[in-house]
């Protein structure tokens, strides 16, 4: 049996007359990686803040690990790590000292803290600069220090607000690898991001935020199905044929989009490359190339917000 670690019901936050989060319900299972997506101002950060008790909800309730974050905040916070979108440190202290301070606050023993900190700094490749003042760190280094703090605390749930913003490609890849390995070790991770292929590569499920509501929550395949499209895309390069007409009616084809210069994207429900190849050749076309891939999140995302973006 899988167990629910985060459960939110009817979560609401109002700023004056502006409803930032409008009655959100969702639940997260242990070990899941959930991506929170949505345009700026959709309410992702506000939702995260309410989960952590950093802002008061105007309505609804949350249960994290079977506990109420309002009544038992210490027990909840002991198991939940948070990386804010703009993470800051004490500039006059070194990276290691900054972590040591939060380690003391979170109740780690001195020896345990020193060990965890060294291991965490190693993982985010900050060991070399660990004893330099944070004032000499770049933006990405601070972000990585924030991630090291999460690792050091060894929480059961990690909530990351835009963890990839400001990271170089190598660090982004390393972070994604890290998230995967943490998830394999049983950590539940909630992350918000605008980098869609990063989200797609690590998240089991995604939540699309739209004007304070969750417009969709589920897997990529479910999203594709909801949008009435196929889960796969075949990129075809062929000459001497108009695929838009030729394969439109073939079985399993959802749509055909020309991409200029003898290229097409064909949305399909399953892998129909053999049938497609035969069709093209039979119709007298020269088949140059055919690639199967899954629907990219950015394509689904665009479609979603074209279809549902104007809903109130």
């Amino acid at each position: 049996m899988s167990d629910t670690v985060i459960e939110a019901r009817g979560l609401t936050k109002r700023y004056g007359s502006n409803v930032a989060v409008n009655g959100i319900d969702f639940s997260v299972e242990a070990g899941e990686v959930i991506g929170l997506l949505g345009p700026n101002g959709a309410g992702k950060t506000t939702t995260i803040l309410m989960l952590l008790g950093l802002t008061e909800a105007d309505g609804g309730d949350v249960v994290i690990l079977g506990k109420d974050p309002v009544r038992q905040p210490l027990q909840v916070k002991a198991d939940v790590g948070y990386l804010p979108d703009s993470v800051g440190f004490y500039n006059n202290m070194t990276g290691r000292e900054n972590l040591a301070y939060t380690a003391r606050l979170s109740g780690l023993s001195h020896a345990q803290a020193a060990e965890n900190i060294a291991a965490a700094l190693e993982k985010v490749r900050l060991t070399d600069v660990a004893d330099k003042r944070v004032s000499t760190y770049s933006h990405g280094m601070r972000k990585r220090l924030g991630i090291a703090e999460l690792l050091m605390r060894k929480c059961r749930i990690a909530i990351l607000d835009e963890p990839t913003s400001g990271l170089d490609p190598q660090s982004t890849r390393e972070l994604l690898d890290l998230i995967r390995s943490l998830s394999r070790d049983g950590m539940t991770i909630l992350l918000s991001s605008h980098i869609l292929d990063a989200v797609q590569s690590v998240c089991h499920r995604i939540a699309l935020f739209n004007k304070g509501r969750i417009g969709f929550l589920g897997t990529m395949e479910e999203l594709a199905a909801k949008l009435g499209g196929g889960a796969f895309i075949v990129d075809v390069e062929a000459d001497g044929i108009d695929l838009s007409k030729a394969v439109k009616s073939a079985k399993g084809v959802k749509s055909v989009t020309p991409d200029g210069d003898g290229q097409w994207h064909i949305e399909t429900e399953r892998d129909i490359r053999p049938e497609l190849g035969r069709l093209i050749v039979q119709a007298g076309g020269d088949l140059r190339n055919m690639d199967l891939r899954r629907t990219r999140l950015d394509e689904a995302y665009d479609r979603f917000f074209k279809e549902y973006g104007n809903e109130a």
């Binding site: 803040l49 952590l52 950093l54 038992q72 916070k77 948070y82 804010p84 440190f89 004490y90 606050l105």
Partner: protein, 317 residues
């Protein structure tokens, strides 16, 4: 709604970190230098004055605190003036500084209550002030012994230590005020200015404002001597809104044993009293107790204000 877990978890961690920060900060070094120079000047002036005019005063040591030689003020009065500055310097960016550095959400995501952060910061700064005061006090005693050649007597020690404790409470009032401003106002510079403005009003202009307001509330009728008394009492009540006034009364009672009252004295009260005979220490303390409680209450009140506002604040940075 009942919360679980101790609100004091983490208080000492925060307090020690804050104290260490203050001890090493350039801001604190500068202001302590100012205090130290002024203190040495005041004591030096006092020693000269005492040497020139010395009589058989049984409380020579306490005179070190209260004797002023123009143009310098006495040690006690300059402490009453400068200490708020020290407290404001330590407290004006306590809370908004964490927002500004964007460390607040990281801190509050740790398993501690907000109470612990606020209280820890207060304790840390108060600890630093206590250390500074103790150093000053030891310095004074040392200088006194060195130049006047006499150690403080028992009652003098008790009085000066009580004075030290009252001074700490007085500093606590200003610290709580500065921290309240740092919670209410997001910009540290604005919070500092607001606290400094209040300090100027309460310590410099209040003695001018009080008689004006008292004159408006209970005017003096030249044919009725009782109105004179009620005017004076109104004036005193208004003046006592300023912690400066309360502290001034406390220090004059504690440091000058011949002082018998902080209010008007009637002839009937003086009957049988030996003019200028020193009051026993306990009696001085009893007389001044309302003032000390008043200062303490102001401190608690301001801290509670900061606490209430801080509890409900949204932490987005």
């Amino acid at each position: 709604m009942k919360r679980e877990g101790s609100p004091f978890k983490g208080v000492m961690t925060v307090a020690l970190k804050e104290a260490a920060d203050h001890m090493t900060s350039a801001r604190m070094h500068l202001i302590m230098l100012l205090v130290l120079l002024t203190a040495i000047g005041a004591v030096y002036g006092a020693i000269n004055h005492i040497r020139d005019t010395t009589s058989e005063d049984p409380f020579l040591f306490l005179k070190l605190f209260t004797t002023a030689q123009q143009p310098l003020p006495s040690f006690a009065s300059f402490l009453g003036f400068l200490l708020p500055l020290v407290a404001i310097a330590l407290g004006f960016d306590a809370i908004n500084g964490e927002y500004g550095r964007r460390t607040m959400s990281r801190l509050l995501a740790q398993p501690i209550y907000r109470d612990a952060l606020l209280f820890g910061k207060f304790l840390g700064a108060l600890l630093v002030i206590a250390i500074a005061l103790l150093t000053l006090w030891l310095l004074m005693t040392g200088l006194g012994i060195l130049f006047l050649g006499l150690p403080p007597s028992g009652p003098e020690l008790v009085r000066s230590i009580a004075y030290l404790a009252a001074t700490l409470v007085y500093a606590g009032v200003w610290l709580a005020l500065a921290m309240a401003f740092s919670t209410l106002i997001r910009s540290a510079a604005t919070a500092a200015l607001a606290a400094l403005a209040l300090w100027l009003i309460l310590s410099v202009f209040w003695s001018m404002i009080a008689p004006l307001v008292a004159g408006a509330i209970s005017p003096v009728d030249p044919y009725n001597p009782m109105t004179l008394l009620s005017n004076f009492e109104t004036q005193q009540v208004i003046a006592r809104i300023s912690p400066q006034t309360l502290y001034g009364e406390v220090s004059s009672m504690l440091l000058d044993p011949s002082n018998r009252s902080v209010g008007p004295i009637f002839m009937s009260q003086l009957q049988g009293a030996l003019i200028n005979a020193p009051l026993p220490t306990m009696q001085s303390l009893t007389i001044i107790w309302p003032q000390i409680s008043g200062l303490f209450a102001a401190m608690v009140l301001l801290f509670t204000l900061a606490y209430t506002v801080f509890q409900r604040q949204e932490v987005r940075a």
